[in-house]
Structure formats: C-alpha cells, structure tokens
C-alpha cells in the first residue's frame, strides 16, 4: 500500500538522476519528459487509491507512527499531487521549446525534476520535520533554477528570494523545535492530540503564530510577500510558470494542513488574524498589479492577490469556505501557470514583456489571443470559467457568516483583476505595435512555438472543462473540506488505531 504513496516522489527523483547523467545529450530532455509522464501516471494511481479507500498512510522504513516518517494522502493531498504532476508535465513540454541547450547542459532538467519531487514530498508527508526537509529541497532546487542561465537580474532576484525564504524556513524550524519541546512528537496526526492536551495553551498560540509567519512568507501573504514580485519576473518562463503555479501553493497547503489539523485550539484568535491578513493580501496584491506595466510583474502581483482568496477560505473556517479554498487552490495552479506560459509565448512573438514596447498580438497571433482570454477571464472570475465557481464559493461562505465587508472586498478585488487583465489585453493584444521596437527580434521556429502552445492549449481546455462541468470537482472539494474540518479519519489512519 505504501508504495502508492512513494512512487510520486521516487519517480521524479530517479528521473532527476538519469536526466543529470544525460544532461549534455538531447536524450536528457526526453528523459525528463518521460519522467513527467510517469509521475502523472503514479499520481493518478495514488488518486485512484485515495478515491477508493479514503485516507491512506504508509510508514516508511517500517517504523510505526509516531516514531517513523509517515507519508499520508487524503483528498486534498492527493489532488495537489495530481495537479503538481500535471503542471510538471506541461512545463516539461513547454521547456522543450524554451530552454536553450547551454542551460540544459548545466543540469536544468535534473533541478526541475528535483523541484517537482520536493513539492510532491511536501504534499504527502505527515511528519513536521520531514516537511521542513522538503521545504529545503524545494528551496535549493528553486534557487538554482532561478539563477540558472546567468545574468545580473537573475542573480539579484535569486539573492532576494533565497534570503527571505531562508528567514521563513528558520522561523518555521524554530517553531518545530518549540512544538517538539511542548508535545514531544513530530508526527502531525499525533501532534493534534498532544497540542490539544498541552498545559501551556498560551505558548501553543505563540508557536501557531510562528508557523503562520513561516508559511506566510512561503505563501506570500501580506505583509510578507516582497520577495515574490522581486524574483518571479526574471527566470525562464517555464520556471516562473512552475514557481507561480506550485511554490506559493505549498505554503498555502501547509497553512491549511496545520491550521485545520493541529492549531485549532484558539480559532477565534488565529483564524481571525488570518481573515484580516487575507483581506489585506487580496487588496494590496491587486493594487500593486495596477501600478505595473510588465506582463510578468502584473501576473506576479496577481498571484499575491489570489493567495488571499485561498487563505480566506481557510480563515473563515466553515466547510463551505474550506471547500472554496481547496477549489481555488486547484483552479489557480492551472490558470496561473498557463498565464505565465502565455507571457513567454507573447515574448517570442512580440519581442518583450514590457507592455509599452509590445502590441498588435491580436493581429499577429490570434490563436494566442484566444488562449490568453480563457485563463485571464478565469482568473478574474468570469462565468462560466473555473475562477467563477471558486470565487462564488468563497463569497458565498463569507456572506453566510454575515462577513459582509470580507465579501465586499473579495468582489471588489475581482473587479480590479478584470481591470488588470483588460490592461494586458489592451496593451499587448489590441493596440498596434509601437513604432521603434522590432516586433520579432528572436522569432522562434515553428517547432519551438508548437512545443510552447501545446501546454497552453491543454491547460486552457482544463479550465473550460472545470468551468462547464464543475459538479465532480465541487463534490471532490467538498469531501476534501470535510476531511479537513474533521480529521478523525486522517488521525486514525496515520496512527493505525481503527476505532
């Protein structure tokens, strides 16, 4: 049973090893692609097992919980693993077109597969210290990917990124240390009870806030998001897409996990703070985007504002809100990665990502324009695309709690998102190409654009499918939210005591 849980992590790791050994040959990229396909298969098998049996857990090295490292998958973890594999595959295809051979020879695909392994591991682990280890794996891989290919901009972005993320990891590690001191366990399921029974509840709340800060930096919530817009606009587009899609979501996932499973003793305090953090995150993110004129910088600020919706789903802490949060998480990964892919292709056609220097894409690349509209409107929450259902669930949950102000802000932010998206649309696609800038400095051969447009089209199709046929996805999110609200199943499965 436990091998179902291991394979989604082991496959990308093994792929990384083989891809690194073959890094100087063209075979390297096909190995990476094959590995991504296998990862998708492995995660689909995991998903099938979870759908069939509910929560599943495996004790690594045969050490019983709570002493060994437990891997565990509930509905939320399973869907995150699947969506990680989908994003990974899309990026592997996109990278075929974008990544130059010199970068490949530096071990690009090995780093990329390690990143995917780290993200998957973070979703699947049931051990707090192991979560820290996966965070480190992600950090090392993502830092290397950020600076690979060289250049002053990338190094500058990389330093900011790694410095702030190291601070967050240290706070997280200190929190783990304190929590271990109080409870004497690192297993998250075991910790739930130990934290509830702890004598010093004041200290537990302090530790909870440390975790909120640590994960908050990772998730880029207000006021800890500075590293994100400083770094996401410099690397290769394939990389910024996978970062935008997955990395911040690991922070959100960790928040969701810890603040539904472990830190639920003082919901009135911790989750109230989270509500205001979420509201401010949504608002500052979208306002920040309005001031930008670079394609990727606008999208980066929008990541921040969208993170607010997800943490809001957690902060409101009702089944409906969590359901909205889970739905939002999945929808946003697909849409946001896709928008960064579009930005990359727009650069191929128009020569830049600064909106003042490009234009006329509607005329020169009508297919790209059509494919941009879908994720952009989905992000803004136009019915019937996936973003509409995600926003609808969150706003409905807020209204049910009579949190009118929160509901108002989330609708207002939706409106401002449309403003940003129409800005990109107007400047990059509609207005004629500005004089004095060469429209096609590095017009790519059709082989390259084909590799780049395939994942864009596939992800756009997924957005439409979720939008027009949301019932199964909503039902899935509902079950995931139920498991988060009442983690009895999770705890008993991990600890192996069936009632």
């Amino acid at each position: 049973m436990s091998w179902v849980l291991v394979m989604p992590i082991a496959v990308p790791f093994l792929t990384a090893v083989v891809a690194f050994l073959a890094r100087s040959y063209p075979a390297g990229r096909w190995i990476s692609l094959a590995g991504s396909v296998l990862s998708l298969v492995a995660s689909a098998v995991l998903m099938a097992a979870v759908l069939d049996q509910g929560v599943i857990a495996g004790q690594m090295s045969n050490w019983d919980a709570p002493f060994g490292i437990t891997l565990v998958a509930d509905y939320l973890a399973a869907v995150m693993v699947v969506i990680t594999a989908i994003t990974g595959l899309a990026t592997a295809i996109y990278a075929l077109g974008e990544i130059p051979e010199e970068t490949e020879a530096l071990g690009f695909y090995a780093l990329f597969q390690t990143l995917i392994a780290g993200v998957t591991g973070a979703f699947l682990t049931g051990d707090l210290f192991n979560l820290y280890v996966w965070f480190e794996v992600m950090l090392i891989a993502s830092f290397s990917l950020l600076v690979i290919g060289g250049g002053k901009d990338r190094l500058d972005a990389g330093i900011k990124y790694v410095a702030l993320n190291l601070v967050s990891t240290l706070i997280f590690l200190a929190g783990i240390g304190l929590l271990y001191g109080v409870t004497g366990t690192l297993n998250m399921a075991d910790m739930r009870e130990a934290v509830a029974n702890a004598e010093n509840q004041g200290l537990i709340t302090v530790i909870a806030m440390m975790f909120m800060v640590g994960f908050g930096v990772k998730a880029a919530v207000f006021p800890l998001f500075f590293w994100l817009p400083a770094s996401y606009h410099t690397p290769y587009f394939a990389i910024s897409a996978v970062f935008a899609g997955l990395l911040t979501k690991v922070g959100v996932y960790a928040l969701m996990r810890m603040f539904t499973l472990v830190f639920v003793g003082d919901v009135g305090f911790t989750h109230e703070i989270l509500i205001w953090v979420s509201v401010l995150t949504m608002f500052t993110g979208v306002i920040g985007a309005a001031a930008q004129t670079d394609f990727r910088k606008i999208l980066s600020f929008h990541i921040i504002s969208q993170i607010g919706y997800m943490t809001l789903g957690l902060a409101l802490y009702t089944p409906l809100a969590l359901m909205g949060g889970v739905f939002y998480l999945v929808h946003h990964i697909i849409v946001k990665a896709n928008l960064f892919f579009v930005a990359g292709l727009a650069k191929q056609y128009a020569g830049d990502t600064d909106l003042n220097r490009i234009g006329g894409l509607y005329k020169s690349a009508p297919l790209l324009a059509a494919l941009f509209i879908i994720p952009a409107f989905s992000l803004a929450g136009f019915p019937p695309l996936s973003g509409f259902w995600a926003k609808y669930l969150i706003v409905k949950a807020a209204i049910e709690l009579d949190a009118w102000f929160v509901a108002f802000v989330s609708l207002l932010v939706g409106l401002l998102t449309i403003f940003s998206m129409t800005k990109i649309w107007g400047m990059a696609f509609w207005k004629p190409h500005p004089e004095g800038y060469d429209p096609t400095p590095d017009r790519a051969p059709p082989k390259v654009t084909r590799a780049m447009i395939t994942p864009i089209a596939a992800l756009a199709a997924m957005t439409i499918v979720i939008g027009f046929y949301p019932e199964p996805f909503v039902q899935f999110a509902e079950t995931a939210a139920m498991q988060l609200m009442d983690p009895t199943d999770y705890v008993t499965t991990v600890l192996g005591v069936q009632p």
């Binding site: 436990s2 090893v17 050994l21 045969n62």
Partner: protein, 140 residues
Amino acid sequence: MNSIIFTAAARLLVALMFVFSLFMLLRGHHLPGGGFIGGLIGAVSFIVYSLACGPAEARKAIRISPEVIAMLGLGIALLAGMFAFFMGDPLFTGQWYWVGGDSYETSAFSLNTVLVFDIGVYLVVLGGILSLSYAFEEET
C-alpha cells in the same frame, strides 16, 4: 600554495585520510561512523590534495566530475531504499542477510541494503562538498 613541506605531507595525508574515510563508512550503522561522516572526511582528503596541487590536478585525480558522483550517489541511495519493494516492505526498510548466524553478535558478517544506502550517502556528500569547494577554488 607553494610550500614543499605541505606538498610532501599532503601526499601521505591524502591517502591516509581517504582510507580512514572508507573505514568510517564501513564501520557505520553498528558503531559510530557511516556514510555522511565518511563522505566528509573523504572530501577533506581531496580538498587537501587540491590545496597542495591545485584544483585542476585534483579534478584529474578523481577522474569523474564531482557533480556526477553526487548524482550517482543519490541514485544508489534511492535504489537501495527501493529494494525493500521486492521484500514487500515499505520504502527504506533495511534488508539484512546474516552470514554464518542470525544476528549481529553471532554472524561473521552481513549483506545488507543499509550499507548500500550509506555508500550512496557517502558519494552524495563527497561529490556535493567537492563540487562546492572546487568551484570556489577555481573562482579565486
């Protein structure tokens, strides 16, 4: 560094330290030692060599590039962990075959996946540290 004393001493030291690192690797698990500390000592021996003779010479001495050593080690460690699959155990469960007995005290020696895993760790640490230190040395 152009010191005759250091260069002459390095020749002896490097070999001794490297043998000692293998000794640390092999006595691990039951006694203090293991892949991580062994790998560190092994890396130090090559670093001493590169300080004495220059990084280019040291790279020639290990023949394979340190990055490849590290990645091979990662693969070996992972495969050692995955061997448990054939025995129906979860990932990384140690598999032991005692030769001439049935436990650590009674048997002459044992064949096990734990040592293979440790060799993987040894190579990861050796390759990782060397690729870092050589990069720094070549920079200056």
